[in-house]
């Protein structure tokens, strides 16, 4: 984990309100793992004040490039989207614990389930799994046709099913309607209701979920992003999404 002054290499809109930014810094390397995140300072001033947690979508270790995909919806992300190549982007990272890629063996099957802005971290995960010889299936859910992104990119690593809530593209409905096949591992990132629905798939294989939460520091000091531990009768045990997570095995924390 380090504070890096990165250089914005490129930035483009890839779906409705969704932007892809690629930044360069010599320290961006193999230490950036799938499922980790970076804490991004948008703009140089104090409004907005805090950093934005943004998932790691892809890393090219040899070229020292990091791809971040984010939704422009607040003050910070709207400032970020207006940055042009050459701009200095202050990031803190890599932060948190990612997906347990090393656990998987060649020939195993993994299902990657993404919802909306939860889709990006699964891209780097998918590449890493495919490199290990893991069979990867993708089920990515979006609101509508306009919000779909990275369909072709994911297809490089395995079959892709797209769902849209309004049925305007791909399969109509939620991702959970498209999961009737067997797997060794299921990895998911997306809104809490989706993650809660996926917890029951523990009976079919190992399930790991990446959580999203409002954060302060991003490094475990401020206790803004805590969650309860499942089965803890004292209700005092907790995990920090930023530094213990954001990836947890299903059943570990209360969603």
């Amino acid at each position: 984990m380090n504070q890096l002054k990165t250089e914005l290499v490129s930035q483009r809109q890839i779906a409705e309100s969704i932007y892809e930014a690629i930044v360069y810094n010599e320290s961006i390397d193999e230490s950036f793992k799938p499922g980790q995140f970076v804490h991004v300072k948008a703009g140089g001033g104090s409004d907005p004040l805090l950093r934005r947690p943004i998932s790691i979508c892809h890393v090219e270790p040899k070229k020292h490039l990091l791809t971040m995909i984010y939704r422009a919806e607040g003050k910070g992300t709207n400032l970020l989207k207006s940055e042009v190549p050459g701009a200095v982007i202050d990031i803190l990272g890599p932060l948190g614990n990612g997906f347990p890629v090393d656990e998987l063996r060649e020939g195993q099957t993994a299902v990657l389930v993404g919802g909306g802005i939860g889709v990006p971290p699964l891209y780097y995960l998918s590449e890493s799994l495919q490199e290990r010889g893991v069979h990867v299936h993708h089920v990515n859910g979006f609101q509508s046709k306009e919000s779909v992104f990275y369909e072709e990119e994911f297809k490089e690593f395995g079959p892709v099913t797209i769902t849209t809530v309004d049925g305007s593209y791909g399969e109509s409905g939620f991702v959970t309607n498209q999961l009737d096949f067997s797997f060794d591992y299921l990895f998911a990132c997306g809104p809490s209701p989706m993650l809660r629905a996926l917890e029951s798939y523990r009976s079919k294989g190992k399930v790991y979920l990446s959580l999203e939460q409002r954060m302060g520091c991003g490094i475990g000091a401020c206790l803004a992003c805590v969650c309860h531990v499942q089965g803890d009768t004292t209700a005092l045990k907790y995990r920090k999404v930023c530094s213990d997570g954001p990836v947890f095995e299903a059943g570990e924390v209360v969603l």
Binding site: K41, S46, D47, L49, R51, L92, A221, A224
Partner: protein, 313 residues
């Protein structure tokens, strides 16, 4: 003597910069970024008699040049702090200021008595101003009589000097400051957060699960400066100032208002290196201002020319 050295009750500070309570945990996370011995002192997270989980999430919301928090005094409780966190911190040569919170005077007394015996705890910070717990906390800090009582009770059992953390959520902060001074407080720390709220346009409900929360960050700095300017002229105990400090210039402004040391809170979340950066920049700023020692700045905004001349070295 170092240009930044400051002597306060219980505290011999190699520089007057310290992370504020609640913004630094017990130092473990920030020790991965820099050597904690660079700091003048560390104000650790509020400790209560029993462990507390705190409030439901969301616990933070952003505001213009600030943030709201309603963590709710989450902490591992007195035993864990005494047996794990403080011993870990004792590896560093840096004085600890232990922040004490509770719901009853008995709570404050029990925690203060034990925690003040820890060898690396050089002072207590009595938290009678946390806006985020229903019982106690702020209730003690907004009424002069109860502020007096809890301060007096803690002074009677504490092995180290006691600083009282004042709430800005009062009509007359001078009145509270005077009453805790009368009760024997060795110093004041000010200010705690200002009560605030943000409402989500989509849900039409407050963003924080707790509803209201404490506002911190640069947005509150002018409020803190004004209050320190007021209070420092009315009491004779030293003040550790806090609220929106981000730069060496901010620190100087606090000293000019009447503070003798400064704590850095929210800025740690934005820039983990902000404390050591401020410490590095302070001597350069003193040079620019044509001053040798930082203590020459204390209260300069209101002290008469005569007092300034006689106190300068």
């Amino acid at each position: 003597m170092s240009r930044l050295q400051i002597e306060l009750p219980g505290l011999s500070l190699k520089n007057p910069i310290m992370p504020a309570s609640g913004c630094f945990g017990f130092g473990r996370e920030y020790s991965k970024f820099y050597d904690l011995e660079k700091l003048g002192a560390i104000m650790v997270k509020a400790t209560t008699a029993e462990p507390r989980f705190g409030n439901p999430t969301p616990r933070v919301a952003e505001t213009s040049s600030g943030m709201l928090n309603a963590i709710g005094l989450q902490n591992p409780g007195l035993d864990e702090v005494l047996h794990s966190e403080l011993p870990w911190l004792s590896e560093f040569d840096v004085p600890i200021i232990a922040n004490v919170a509770g719901s009853t005077i008995e709570d404050y007394v029990a925690v203060s008595k034990e925690i003040s015996k820890a060898p690396n705890v050089h002072a207590l910070e009595l938290n009678i101003s946390c806006p985020n717990v229903k019982e106690g906390g702020l209730a003690f800090g907004t009424v002069p009589e109860t502020a007096y009582e809890v301060t007096k009770a803690v002074k009677a059992v504490s092995s180290v000097p006691v600083y009282v953390k004042l709430s800005p959520n009062v009509t007359d902060i001078v009145e509270i400051a005077k009453s805790v001074e009368k009760a024997g407080a060795d110093g004041l720390t000010m200010i705690n957060t200002l009560l605030g709220m943000r409402i989500d346009l989509k849900t039409s409900k407050p963003i924080l699960a707790n509803g209201a929360g404490g506002l911190s960050g640069p947005a509150i700095k002018p409020v803190a400066i004004r209050m320190i300017h007021q209070v420092s002229q009315q009491v004779s105990i030293p003040i550790i100032g806090m609220g929106g400090v981000q730069t060496a210039e901010d620190v100087v402004e606090y000293f000019l208002a009447g503070a003798s040391a400064v704590a850095v809170g929210t800025a740690n979340f934005v820039d983990p290196y902000c404390c050591p950066t401020i410490i590095e920049n302070l001597p350069l700023l003193l040079d620019d201002l044509g001053l040798y020692h930082i203590d020459e700045l204390i209260g300069r905004s209101w002290k008469t020319e005569w007092t300034l001349q006689s106190s300068s070295r």
